[in-house]
């Protein structure tokens, strides 16, 4: 087994925009994958990580060294596909153990065509990203021309990320029990978010990300949900405009992650890129109204830097760097958080829709 792993481990290379080259071995699919290199400190939930739309176009590094311990299964994906474009780990587990396991992570990556690299010093990589900021990188298992690749890396940009993660036609989810209707602008909605509504009495319609405000208004939804998703929202002017229209119309809106940023932009807020993102399962946020601190799961590279205090109140901030983690709008029925909310958030939004109707 050991011998096989050593012999079969084909060479793979991770090259970063700054010229750093890390040599490891190939796991998952063979080939070349380019993306913004980021790290996540979550110690469990690799399957959820790989299918998290906010990782679209990114090379995801796991700081926890042992990946795939409990195998993979068909229940835990957040989406039908893996969004990460590449996967960087120290070690993958050949003999996973869990009663729900249906296979190992290596096969899973292969099946989803994700190019992976293992047997590298992920801590060293993490420190580079921490010090120099998130940057483009490429994993390749083949021959390559370093200079040409570096040039390509420096020019690389993820485009049309939302289009890539969004449904192309509306998709319906029935409420477990209830009659509310919520529209989701699909920036890459997670399965668990849809469940957050269906469990709380709302039917969900997942709409293509570029659905117009008119269409939404006409369909009689009780509220609109803006989920998390990938990329820099500043460029998504049409969507921002759509959301602004919905706000002006008085539609109850809830935003999470990318949705939180889009909502802020639609209401005159400013955003900025973090030096390196908040990614992991242990981000402390403080509920400013109640003085409570919550440990949250997050995955974002941008934050709301500024919004008029007349427009919205900061409801949460990050305990470590004090950046904005949540907003409560003062004049419109809208609320948003930067982190993955717990069920209470969905219930709050449901009651906001109740008040409206």
């Amino acid at each position: 087994m050991v011998k096989n792993m050593i012999q079969d481990g084909k060479k793979a290379v991770l090259l970063l925009e700054n010229g750093t080259e890390l040599i490891g071995k190939s796991c998952g699919a063979e080939g070349t994958a380019m993306g913004e290199t980021v790290f996540t400190t979550a110690m469990v939930g690799y399957q959820e990580t790989l299918t998290d739309s906010a990782f679209y176009g990114k090379l995801v590094t796991q700081t926890f060294p042992l990946i795939g311990n409990y195998g993979v299964n068909s229940f835990d994906d957040e989406a039908p596909r893996c969004y990460a474009s590449g996967y960087i780990i120290r070690e993958w587990c050949e003999v996973p153990s869990n009663f729900r396991s249906e296979g190992d992570i290596n096969d899973y990556l292969k099946r989803h065509g994700i190019v992976g690299i293992y047997d590298i010093d992920t801590r060293k990589l993490t420190k580079i990203l921490r010090e120099e900021g998130e940057m483009n990188g490429v994993i390749t298992t083949g021959e390559y021309d370093r200079e040409a690749l570096l040039k390509e890396l420096r020019a690389f940009q993820v485009t049309d990320a939302l289009k890539a993660v969004s449904v192309s036609a509306p998709k319906e989810y029935k409420a477990e029990d209830g009659t509310k209707k919520v529209a989701v602008l699909d920036f890459g909605v997670h399965k668990s978010m849809i469940e957050g509504f269906t469990k709380n009495g709302c039917g969900v319609t997942v709409l293509p990300y570029d659905t117009s405000a008119e269409t939404i208004k006409a369909a009689g939804y009780h509220g609109v949900f803006l989920p998390d998703g990938p990329g820099n929202p500043s460029g998504a002017e049409e969507i921002i405009h759509t959301v602004k229209e919905l706000c002006d119309w008085g539609m109850p809106i809830a935003g999470v992650g990318l949705g939180h940023l889009v909502l802020a932009l639609a209401n005159g807020g400013k955003i900025r890129k973090l030096h390196y993102g908040h990614r992991g399962g242990n981000q402390p946020v403080i509920d400013l109204a109640h003085g409570r601190t919550y440990v949250t799961s997050q995955n974002h590279g941008f934050v709301v830097e500024e919004i008029s205090p007349e427009t919205a109140q900061v409801s949460f901030h990050n305990a470590n760097d004090k950046t904005c983690e949540g907003l409560r709008y003062l004049h419109i029925p809208a609320v948003s958080v930067q982190f993955m909310p717990e069920e209470g958030f969905y219930r709050e939004f449901v009651s906001m829709m109740d008040n409206k109707s």
Partner: protein, 1064 residues
């Protein structure tokens, strides 16, 4: 909320002596607590009976009482000191139980003392079995079907409704004392009966046995604002059924998917919220391996062994944060000391794997039952950190100092497949080695899993090691193979042995930092572990922070075991403090997660790694120290001296050659000859025949022991050829590398001296005398400072001999010498040119900070400079009596008769103006049941039958009824001491020794026997029975005599003044 304004003076209760289930982790927690409180400007009053602790140090508290931990004493301390608050959750179960009793009886309220850390409701909800169950049910957390019972009959009746097997868990006992798994009614009767007796409230829980489920723990912290986090998850390699203290544990949990992990994390947070815990809390769960079903096993709303492990595993200082919460702070106000920029209200992310491996005392107790169950048996543990499970496991195995450097246990090679299979279940101390051997022999992962219920994940990882070792042994040792083996934690020497080839290169370890955040933030903690990557964070850190100070490495003492306890941690930590004071950069190396020395801010840097030659060499390559210190880390550190010397590393203090001269029998004889000091006559032998010849030549009794030993390992007094045969048979089971020493046994007064020497002058802070005559290990003897019965001439001789030995051995620093005074002659028994077990207590009672002075001497200072004259320091105004503490109730089948082999796990100190008063304090602190009436059962060996008479007379005069077996009874009755005759067990007659012990009439047992050890012997059964019933069992006549004198004072603890040692 910031610091509560009304707090000015806090009382902290420690956990007392080290016993199985309550060890050094509470010194670590208590020390952190004291520091956290002092940081806030609060005055700290400390009570703890354990003198070997760091928390009882003047630097740690403002008022320190080394006094028995009883309600009476704590009440008196409160009356004297008038603290405004009491911190209850940092002193283990002992401190917590005392605090709760004081709160419940209203004493705290009536003295205006605020209870900090836990309230009685929380504790009751967590510890009283029924209210715990009710609380869990009220928040929808599942418990295991169980019932609290107070009689054996109820236990049986309930069990019949849920079916065997069941687990018996006594309420309010340490480390699950008295618990066990019962498969049959007969077993249930025995275990439940025992458990009811041990439970202070006569209550046991009968619980459905869920052996084989995964055992998962979460360490949580909650504050008064309901902020709550989980610091760390842990998974036991051994499934439910083995006490977590006896399990191999990994952190974080590895076989849980995100769903299961979040389910249990949420449950843990719900529990701490329901219990309203303010501080640290340990939640233990059983998780069904094939479903999402789980059950809450146990909740400990205080810091614990697990919280110490979680702190070291993550870098998150749980005890410190818990203390700050107790005095009013909330998690979002407490800065994470590791990063300096983030807050305590976050969950650590780790980027490595931690393995904890227990250390059991079975090397000392060859007849003890090694089966592991719900009652903890380990005395200590090691922790290791690696980037893979394989690497961490290999480090843990060699770090445990079991004389193996891999999972191959040599004795297993000869066993049959059936024997190996039988050895993998039920669990015992060597199970992991049997599992490894089974894998080597081709047993499948599934089969092993089915038998042991150890998760396949762990077995598969062990199989990786099996495969690697096969690969190493097969063909050329290529660089690729070598590097793979290094990454999986193998030493060069192990690789060479397994491959039969020289390593092709030397791959030096690099170091990574433990930073609580997986590299997300820049950390300031200089806490490292070794691995095999290219980037060496320690080297980078050193370069970045270099201020040109002298770098000194201090080696710690590894896992706590009998003979090497917390006292060496005290010494190592003090050495580090002294080095820092001297402007050096002090770097600690140790692998024991329970200790203060492995707290990341004790030294300037910490290396959490095993203390083997190669591990140490790697650290030296990175640190490039000015010098190293080996004399404070017990045998673990001192045994590195020769190797370090060969490497050309500068050893500060006494040189390796002197260590060798003191340990090598022939060289030591020459030393004594040159010094003109007599020692008991003796020989070195290798075989039983030679040993018997020596015994006859010297004349029995003789003392037999292997050379190079620790804590009198495998040491006996032989009275006959048969004894020699039995002993040699046991000792030659393993290959003899060093000879066995046979010495004439001199039954004289044992005297012990710790001295400091700078090469020119020497200082003896005090001479200690043992109550028991030679023959009982010094660690198990009651030791008195200052010596009470030595003539001026003998003292002068001892001072002179100490001087000669220190000079001849060129001691620079500390030396410990044991003498025996026999027929007015002083003989040397043993010289240890290093720190000893008595250093902490002698430093505390004499006021001579021995480790600090020794450390400064190593750096070139002289005693004269520090104001010390050569010779004996004048006696202090108090008498201090050190009393050993044993853990016999945790270890079945261990003979509790004291002898030359050390058996105690800890110690306490009694300090008073007179010897008897100090002894009384010591005995009470040690938990001895000092009764002033009742019966005394006497059964002594023939050679003691003369000497027992005056002692028996003392007890008779004090009004005790005497009982003895016929031989002893005749002797006593003839001497006009009325004694009742009881029959021997072997006579199978009524009114036997067992009957009288069971009758409740007996207050003391005085039992000595020529031969002991084997649990089948009558004498051993009597002594074990005494242990079970909590009857004071005196196994040396000298102890019995001293106890009689103590009772004759007609004083209780309340008649003896309490002493604040900061005023000495």
């Amino acid at each position: 909320m910031p610091l509560r304004k009304e707090l000015k003076k806090v009382l902290v209760i420690g956990s007392g002596p080290i016993v199985i289930g309550q060890a050094a982790e509470f010194d670590y927690a208590g020390t952190q607590a004291c520091r956290a409180l002092k940081e806030e400007g609060l005055e700290v009053v400390l009570v703890n009976s354990n003198p070997a602790t760091i928390m009882t140090d003047k630097a740690m508290a403002d008022k320190i009482y080394i006094e028995p931990l009883t309600l009476d004493v704590i009440r008196r301390v409160i009356e004297i000191e008038k603290p405004d608050s009491l911190l209850s959750t940092l002193g283990g179960q002992t401190g917590l139980t005392l605090s709760m009793q004081l709160a419940k009886e209203g004493f705290l309220d009536s003295h205006n003392v605020i209870l900090l850390g836990a309230n009685p409701e929380t504790i009751d909800k967590a510890e009283d079995r029924q209210s715990f169950k009710d609380t869990m049910e009220s928040i929808g957390e599942p418990c295991i079907p169980s019932k609290v019972v107070t009689t054996v009959e109820d236990a049986i009746a309930f069990t019949e409704t849920i079916g065997y097997p069941v687990i018996v868990r006594p309420a309010f006992t340490l480390g699950g004392s008295g618990g066990g798994i019962a498969d049959t009614e007969e077993e249930l009767r025995e275990i439940a009966g025992n458990g009811l007796r041990l439970s202070p409230i006569t209550q046991v829980l009968i619980e459905k046995c869920i052996s084989g489920w995964k055992e998962i723990e979460f360490e949580c912290i909650r504050d008064s604002k309901s902020n709550a986090i989980t610091v760390c998850s842990m998974e036991n390699v051994d499934p439910v059924g083995v006490h977590t203290g006896d399990s191999i544990v990994v952190a974080p949990a590895v076989t849980l998917s995100n769903k299961e992990y979040q389910m249990l994390r949420t449950a843990a947070l719900n529990i701490v919220e329901a219990l309203k815990v303010e501080g640290g809390c340990n939640c233990q769960f059983a998780l069904h391996p094939e479903s999402m079903e789980y059950a809450v096993i146990e909740v400990n709303p205080r810091v614990s062994r697990s919280s110490a492990l979680a702190s070291k595993a993550t870098g998150y200082p749980i005890a410190k944060v818990a203390s700050k919460i107790a005095i009013g702070y909330t998690l979002d106000e407490i800065v994470n000391a590791v990063t300096g920029t983030t807050y305590a209200c976050f969950e650590p992310a780790i980027d490595y794997l931690v393995v904890k491996f227990p250390r059991w005392p079975f090397d000392k107790f060859v007849y003890a039952s090694k089966k592991l169950g719900t009652q903890m048996k380990a005395t200590g543990e090691v922790m290791s950190i690696g980037t893979s499970f394989e690497q961490a496991m290999m480090k843990a195995i060699r770090g445990a100092e079991l004389k193996v450097d891999s999972l191959n246990l040599p004795k297993l090679a000869k066993m049959s497949d059936e024997e190996i299979k039988a050895g993998i279940d039920p669990a015992h101390d060597e199970r992991i080695f049997y599992v490894f051997e089974a894998l080597k022999r081709g047993m499948s992962i599934d089969e092993i899993h089915e038998i042991t219920m150890i998760d396949e994940w762990f077995i598969a990882k062990l199989k990786n090691l099996v495969e690697l070792e096969k690969w190493l042994a097969d063909g050329e040792l290529t660089v690729e193979k070598y590097r793979y083996a290094k990454k999986w934690g193998y030493l060069d020497s192990t690789i060479e042995r397994m491959s039969g080839q020289k390593v092709p290169e030397h791959f030096s370890a690099s170091y990574k930092m433990v930073d609580t955040c997986a590299g997300e933030f820049k950390a300031q903690t200089p806490y490292f572990y070794s691995t095999y990557d290219k980037q060496n964070e320690a080297a980078e850190f050193i370069e970045e922070h270099d201020q040109g100070r002298k770098r000194v490495l201090v080696f710690g003492s590894g896992p706590i075991r009998i003979g090497q306890g917390i006292e060496f941690d005290y010494c190592s930590v003090h050495c580090v403090w002294a080095l820092k004071e001297e402007g050096c950069e002090a770097v600690l190396c140790n692998n024991n997660p329970e200790t203060v020395s492995t707290d990341f801010d004790t030294g300037d840097r910490l290396y959490f790694d095993p203390l083997t030659k190669e591990d140490v060499k790697n650290i030296i390559e990175t640190e490039k120290p000015y010098g190293v210190v080996v004399q404070f880390g017990g045998q673990t550190a001192i045994s590195l001296a020769n190797y370090l010397d060969q490497l050309g590393v500068k050893i500060l203090g006494t040189q390796a050659d002197s260590v060798d001269a003191a340990e090598d029998r022939e060289r030591f004889d020459q030393v004594l000859e040159r010094c003109g000091i007599p020692r008991p006559a003796g020989h070195t032998v290798f075989t039983a025949e030679e040993a018997k010849k020596a015994g006859n030549e010297l004349g029995y009794p003789v003392l037999l022991r292997p050379s190079y030993v620790l804590g009198g390992q495998n040491m006996i007094i032989a009275h006959s050829d048969q004894d020699v045969d039995e002993y040699m048979a046991i000792i030659t089971r393993t290959k003899l590398e060093n000879p066995v020493l046979v010495d004439k046994y001199l039954m004289g007064t044992e005297v012990e001296v710790d001295a400091i020497c700078d090469g020119t002058d020497f200082v003896i802070p005090g001479i200690m005398e043992h109550i028991e005559r030679a023959g009982i290990h010094s660690g198990d003897s009651i030791s008195v400072y200052p010596a009470q019965n030595l003539s001026a001439k003998i003292k002068e001789t001892i001072i002179e001999y100490t001087k000669r030995l220190a000079m001849e051995l060129k001691v620079i620093g500390l030396v410990n010498i044991q003498y025996v005074v026999y027929n007015h002659e002083v003989y040397v028994i043993e010289v240890n040119p290093r720190s000893s077990r008595t250093i902490p207590y002698i430093s505390k009672v004499t006021g001579v900070p021995m480790v600090d002075i020794a450390t400064k001497i190593m750096l070139g200072h002289t005693l004269k400079e520090m104001g010390y004259e050569s010779g004996l320091v004048p006696d202090a105004e108090y008498i201090a009596v050190k009393v050993p503490v044993f853990s016999f109730e945790k270890l079945h089948n261990v003979d509790n008769q004291l002898g030359p082999e050390m058996k105690s796990t800890g110690e306490v100190l009694g300090i008073a103006k007179t010897f008897e008063e100090a002894l009384l304090k010591g005995l009470i602190a040690a938990g001895q049941n000092i009764k002033v009436e009742g019966g005394v059962l006497i059964t002594v060996r023939d050679s003691d039958k003369g000497e027992i008479i005056p002692i028996a007379e003392k007890f008779a005069d004090l009004g005790f009824d005497l009982y003895a077996t016929s031989g002893t009874a005749n002797k006593l009755n003839n001497a006009m001491i009325p004694t009742n005759v009881v029959s021997k067990i072997s006579e199978h007659k009524p009114n036997s020794t067992m009957d009288i012990l069971n009758s409740g009439k007996i207050s003391y047992v005085i039992s000595t026997s020529a031969k002991g050890r084997s649990p089948a012997k009558d004498s051993v059964k009597i002594r074990r029975k005494a242990v079970e019933h909590g009857i004071a069992c005196l196994t040396a006549l000298d102890t019995a005599n001293a106890v009689a004198d103590c009772i004759a004072m007609h004083k209780t603890i309340n008649d003896v003044d309490l002493v604040d040692i900061t005023k000495i």
